[in-house]
Symmetry: C2
Subunit: 361 residues, 2 copies
């Protein structure tokens, strides 16, 4: 079923306000979830609402706390999210470094004491709107098994990168491991086998049963102190021969730039004691290097050449962003896709908080 963007936004604004967020914060949080649903990233859209609500009830997320800037240099900022939603602190940080990068050319931010921050691409989009190139990173709960290991330790650690191009920006936005946990859930829901080297058990044997994989991930990500067996593989799959240690390297780079640099929890430690995520954002001004219109034209020409390369008959070559921006156009027109479970949760939350739920079609 679908609901209209405007109705989704209104509902979310009302819910977040009832949950104790300021009007301004509620608008922003609503925008991040609507944006994810519009771009077809349902795993990070309104279906997360019940989960956020649970963390607010448990006190993991503190809606009244204000994120604050702890320290600044001309090109750097350290932000304390103060245990409120990651989106609020990361927007504050990104807006701050956008200002800075317009003077110095480049700026970075690290956010500590944070929570889930939605899609990483939301912040690279903020940079693009300001005419800048952006990178955004986050650590997560532990889901990912390093090369040769039999237990999860690394986060699925998202990486987003946006660069100006036509008819839409280059937008790379996703987990650094082979697939996100959300993609495994989708297969489990549909009763489909996992089609690639996605997950392993505690003996590092490949798991193709999606429900079994989902159980493994749930244990890895949410059970404190228990023996963890298996998890998601790094990019490169199950075999060292396919360089899965490069996938591990990419994941470790993000662990260092988030949990370590923020002096917060690394992904492995977010299951016990204090639950905190950390984020890293970088923006720079492409206009320093050349005429922005020329850079955009050159990027577009390169991406078009990639799309038009000779290819396997019947297949298409997609460039990062193509899928999201195609879905964006459809979803803006027809409304965003919501599954039954998410709609049911919207109704329950609406009833409890006396917020009217949008019509679906």
């Amino acid at each position: 079923m679908r609901i209209k963007e405007k109705a989704e936004r209104q509902y979310l604004q009302d819910v977040f306000t009832k949950l104790g967020f300021s009007a301004e914060d509620s608008d922003l949080l609503a925008d991040t979830l609507v944006d994810a649903d519009l771009r077809g990233i349902s795993s990070h859209g309104i279906q997360r609402l019940a989960w956020y609500r649970r963390m607010i009830k448990e006190g993991t997320i503190k809606p009244q706390n204000k994120a604050k800037i702890i320290r600044e240099l001309p090109g750097t900022v350290l932000v304390d999210a103060n245990q409120n939603m990651g989106q609020l602190a990361t927007v504050l940080a990104t807006n701050k470094i956008i200002e800075k990068a317009k003077r110095t050319g480049v700026a970075i931010a690290v956010i500590r004491n944070s929570n889930h921050f939605g899609t990483a691409g939301y912040y690279t989009c903020l940079a693009l709107k300001a005419g800048l190139v952006g990178i955004a990173l986050t650590n997560t709960r532990p889901l990912v098994v390093p090369t040769n290991a039999t237990q999860a330790f690394l986060g699925s650690n998202a990486f987003a990168f946006g660069f100006p191009a036509s008819p839409h920006p280059f937008m790379f936005d996703g987990a650094t491991c082979v697939v996100s946990g959300g993609k495994i859930q989708v297969h489990a829901k549909k009763g489909e086998k996992l089609p690639g080297e996605w997950a392993v058990d505690g003996q590092r044997q490949l798991v193709t049963d999606a429900e079994k994989a989902e159980d493994i991930l749930a244990t890895a990500a949410f059970t404190e102190g228990e023996q963890k067996g298996g998890g998601v593989l790094t990019l490169g799959g199950n075999s060292e021969a396919n360089s899965n240690y490069k996938g591990m390297g990419n994941s470790l780079v993000i662990e260092l730039l988030t949990g370590i640099l923020a002096q917060g929890s690394i992904s492995a430690d977010t299951v016990s004691g204090k639950h905190d995520f950390s984020q890293f954002v970088m923006v720079f001004d492409p206009a320093f290097f050349g005429d922005p219109e020329v850079l955009k034209k050159d990027a577009t020409a390169m991406l078009d050449r990639v799309r038009q390369l000779e290819h396997v008959p019947g297949k298409e070559i997609w460039v990062p962003g193509d899928r999201e921006y195609r879905l964006l156009a459809t979803n803006q027109e027809k409304g965003v896709l919501i599954d039954k479970k998410a709609y049911q949760e919207m109704k329950e939350i609406g009833d409890e908080l006396a917020v009217s739920v949008p019509q679906s079609n």
Copy 2:
């Protein structure tokens, strides 16, 4: 066979001086090659000398040209390598942004009109020596086939990242594609089959014959205007089910940050007309975010936990940098490993330029 570090360095300094480089530039170039051989990255060590010499003879590399800074902001610098060796321009750029990052917290450099710059890790090591965290990127000749494509277009595009840790830094340094061309060459020399999903032909069929793979790469990388069939795969291998589009995404990010931002050639265009590579370097000051000793201790503790995770019996878990620093200790003591062909080339170049060749043992 092995030759001692000091003898290798002296030989290279003499050769570069005879080839027309200044004494200072010769010392620096020698250091970059010795450093690669010491860290066990032979593909980027003295065995490249004959290749550099050929490019100097052809006029692709111009030893007397000076790299220069074109433009600066407090956090950014644009450098013109002026068609000299990439190492010279990138050291200039990296030293400049190290200075800047000590004031602003972070700085980036883009280098245009450049050539091969050796190992990307050399520049992140420079940053580490100055107490900073560094990232270095370069594009290359076209070797890599995007998802679903049947022809090479992307570079093998190196990515290096260094972060302070004990007993040695975290050092991720390698091609973003599944394996470097050099690794395929090593298998061809030894007459071994390729053990993983490394290369495909013009029908995107997996190639396991190393010599056939080497021919495919040579055609892709060095033949102008000819139909290109096949090449190296992106990280993720031959199948979309294993998310090889994420590997393509990583490669494209580097194309955008190097060739596009520098307004130079993208990897695909380095085979025709002007042959130029472009580089990107970023450094930031971790001391802004926290006590450097604490950050180093935390990074070390995390990496040690990764090394000690439960694992497949008989296998080890290596963290990026472990291999290189283990080889470094051995090679500093015993001398660097040189194969017969490289030693033969050293003798030929020595004879021609009247430079005495080090003894091997």
